[in-house]
Amino acid sequence: MPNEKTYYSLEAGGNLICHKCGIRLVKGNAVFEYLENAFPVELPVCPQCGFVYVPEELAMGRVLSVEKVLEDK
């Protein structure tokens, strides 16, 4: 895909820390999958354990609306 969309931007310096690894989350490549569709996105990811953080606004906004569209395909 030519220009990947960024659905979430990390604050400068980053304020999210992986609780398990004690490492700051970084902007990382993640992929959402649903009903055999995949969407590459950039999200805060723990560089060690790979935990991907999906913030509430994203989950209840964009993610929800895309789910609904795919469900009616």
Binding site: H19, K20, V31, F32, E33, A59, M60, D72
Partner: protein, 758 residues
């Protein structure tokens, strides 16, 4: 069982026809909403009377005029000479004098001007037409064809235009004069003072492609439909059905159609619209029409008088199903159109299924079948469409998963079956229904205690779901599995007679079990228990859709409510016409807005009244809508009605009821599992969970998972932790603060997508 909840892609190349074409058409034909109004059907010229009267009633005389000019080149002659078949069929004539349509037409023509604009640009045609004769028919054909941009030559004996019109119609000169601009507008060539006979016609016609003549010039009788003779020349037919003016203008219209076909090199019989008087099956409910005195026409209506008379038009349309159904109103479609769109929706292999929400928002309550004069069954169509979409794997699991899991909860964790202590075999089994267990556990407990005491023969108990939820969701296989489970369980109890606490359970179970009666039947028989609530007030009864075609149940409830001392006020929408509360068909899970409107609809007649229900889901939905609703069994057993419980509370209630019954009836000790931690939820969080359909059990499981794996994200800014846990097809996220073994939950959210790094 778990296979039912495996999320699949809906992009499968499966397709199954919902109905055969003939069946679809048969079903659609029951909806007469699109049938023409009776005035329009009676008019041989097919004037859109309803639209004309609507325009006039709003003072738009120009639009009224354009509708009249659309059907004939000389509307004013028509308005003065038409006997008005439309008046004969006007539905208002069944109450009082019909709307004076011809008088309004006269006023429209007088109070509006000849339009200056030329209208749509039409292509000039090549075929030349010769018209011979000085009667209304020939002049109208000439003007009509000239308006269609055919080069027309009219041969007439008349000396001038006025003379021509005088030969056409026996009307005052003043009226005829006003037709002159219309003739000019038509741009046709007129050869005045031509002596006409058959010889002249024979001579001249060689020059032309199309020929039309007056009746006295015809050599042979013409076809009654196309008005063509054997050489495709057009003359009026001898048979007359209407007065001279109407018949002439009607014939002119038919002649124009024939000419068009001849020009297209088709048989003039081909592809003709319905001509003349037609039949309409439109239903107009006259019960809602207030009486309105006719406006007398003294010479001619003034503008105001015409408007007043036009306002008397009922604007006939069939809206019977719309009146009581919030669903149809929300989707703004009449059953015929809705059926076609849902049918097409099931046929889409690739692409957006735009009508998924529509077919899943019907409560399947069957009200339309009762209110429709032809018994249209929208519920069956929506249900069949859901099954079709499930069969072809096009129905997303997300739509109904919550409700289906709730059904499974009722038949597993919340399930309980047992014989009455002291009885080897029980004659009966009480089946309160999943909603009663979830909403009013205390009432269910008391009811069972009473039945054990007073109903002879022993009464077993079964807490579970009747499986209707799977049927509503269109999941046939799951439905059959659940029914098989219930059958097996009933067999273990000795196949007793089922006492259903809910009318929907009753009608569902009746299909699979030999004898199913209602709790109301039993209470009517054994009488009310001592100390049952006294109601010294007027109440209304909200009838359940599960008992729509069951007058016995409706009457039994009324008798019980009367015995409770209440005075019943019957509404216009009670018994078989009752609206659905919004629980039926799982609407409340799929379309909260429509479900809410449905509940609103149930109490619209009197929002302040006390509504007695006999389905616990109705009581819950109406109560949630803020009305004063109470289940009859709550009154019988004097159990105070709580407010509508939330989704998590409903599950807790079912578990609590089960534990209480096990402990107090069957003396079984329940080992309560103590959670390792405590948590607190603010009202705001609870509401959020309710809106997002997230259960407290999901929250607990997520917190427990966090305690096990410590996976979370710490936010420095607000000092919170956010953890994630996937249960089934849903990822749950909980944001919280942790203090030893206590959790303060700040927010909960979820999504169905999976997420991973790449």
């Amino acid at each position: 069982m778990t296979d039912h909840f495996k999320e699949r892609s809906t992009r499968d190349y499966h397709q199954k026809q919902l109905f055969a074409k003939e069946e679809l058409e048969k079903r659609e034909s029951l909806c007469t909403h699109e049938d023409p109004p009776f005035c329009n059907a009676a008019c041989p010229l097919k004037l859109d009377v309803k639209a004309m009267l609507a325009a006039v009633s709003e003072g738009d005389f120009a639009k009224g005029r354009s509708l009249l000019e659309y059907i004939t080149p000389f509307p004013e002659i028509l308005a003065y000479g038409c006997e008005g078949p439309c008046r004969r069929t006007c539905r208002r004539s069944e109450i009082e004098e019909s709307v004076n349509i011809p008088a309004i037409e006269r006023a429209v023509m007088r109070h509006s001007d000849v339009p200056k604009a030329r209208g749509l640009l039409k292509m000039r045609k090549k075929q030349k037409l010769a018209v011979f004769g000085s009667e209304l028919f020939t002049v109208a054909v000439a003007a009509d064809m000239a308006n269609k941009k055919y080069p027309v030559t009219l041969y007439t004996e008349a000396e001038n235009e006025m003379d021509l019109f005088r030969r056409c119609a026996d009307l005052d000169d003043e009226i005829l004069e006003r037709q002159l601009p219309l003739l000019k507008k038509a741009e046709l060539k007129i050869c005045f003072g031509t002596p006409l006979d058959r010889e002249f016609l024979e001579k001249e016609e060689a020059e032309y492609d199309l020929v039309c003549g007056a009746s006295y010039l015809k050599e042979e009788e013409v076809d009654p439909v196309t008005l063509c003779d054997s050489r495709n020349r057009i003359f009026p037919h001898a048979e007359k059905r209407y007065s001279h003016i109407l018949q002439s203008l009607f014939d002119a219209r038919r002649a124009a159609v024939s000419f068009e076909r001849i020009v297209q090199r088709l048989d003039p019989h081909n592809n003709r619209p319905q001509e003349g008087e037609t039949e309409s099956h439109l239903f107009t409910n006259l019960n809602y029409i207030p009486s309105e005195d006719a406006v007398a026409e003294n010479g001619l209506y003034s503008r105001e008088e015409a408007i007043r008379e036009a306002k008397r038009c009922i604007q006939c349309e069939c809206v019977e199903c719309f009146r009581g159904c919030a669903y149809l109103r929300a989707f703004k479609r009449y059953p015929r159109l809705l059926t076609r769109e849902i049918y097409n929706n099931t046929g889409i292999i690739m692409g957006d299924h735009m009508m998924n929400k529509a077919m899943n928002s019907c409560s399947l309550c069957g009200q339309c079948t009762v209110t429709c004069p032809n018994g249209y069954d929208m519920a069956e169509i929506c249900r069949a469409a859901r099954e079709n979409m499930v069969d072809t794997q096009k129905m997303s699991l997300a739509v109904h998963e919550f409700a289906l899991l709730d059904m499974l909860f009722s038949n597993t964790e919340g399930y309980l079956a047992g014989k009455q202590p002291g009885y080897e075999t029980c004659r009966y089994v009480y089946f309160p229904g999943c909603q009663a267990n979830a909403i009013a556990p205390d009432t269910v407990f008391k009811t069972y205690e009473d039945l054990m005491q007073r109903q002879p023969g022993g009464v077993a108990l079964m807490l579970g779901c009747c499986s209707v939820i799977a049927r509503w969701a269109g999941r046939r296989e799951l439905y059959q599995e659940q029914i098989a489970f219930l059958k097996e369980e009933m067999h273990k109890l000795g196949d007793p007679i089922i006492i259903a606490g809910c009318p929907t359970c009753r009608s569902t179970l009746q299909e699979h079990f030999p004898e199913v009666i209602g709790l109301w039947d039993v209470l009517k028989e054994i009488g009310l228990p001592e100390g049952s609530g006294k109601l010294q007030q007027e109440v209304m009864i909200h009838d359940a859709c599960g008992a729509r075609n069951d007058p016995d149940t409706q009457n039994s409830i009324r008798e019980i409510v009367s015995r409770l001392g209440a005075e019943i006020k019957e509404g216009n929408w009670s018994k078989e016409k009752s609206a659905c509360c919004g629980y039926g068909g799982l609407v409340s899970y799929v379309n909260k807005e429509v479900a809410s409107e449905m509940a609103e609809e149930c109490v619209r007649e009197d929002p302040q009244a006390t509504y007695i229900t006999y389905c616990m889901a109705c009581r819950d939905r109406l109560k949630r809508q803020g009305s004063n609703a109470v289940h009859f069994s709550e009154l019988v057993y004097g159990t105070a009605a709580d407010d509508a419980p939330g989704l998590s509370q409903k599950r807790r209630n079912r578990k609590m009821l089960k534990e209480k019954l096990l402990k107090e009836v069957w003396k079984e000790e329940i080992m309560q599992e103590k959670p390792e931690f405590t948590y607190e939820l603010s009202e705001e969080v609870r509401q959020k969970m309710e809106d997002r359909m997230i259960l407290e059990s999901d929250l607990l499981e997520t917190l427990q998972a966090y305690r096990d794996n410590q996976m979370a994200v710490y936010n420095e800014t607000d000092d919170t932790l956010t953890t994630r846990h996937r249960i089934g097809n849903v990822s749950f996220w909980v944001r919280f603060r942790e203090e030893n073994d206590h959790y303060t939950v700040i927010s909960v959210y979820s999504h169905r997508m999976t997420v991973r790094t790449r």
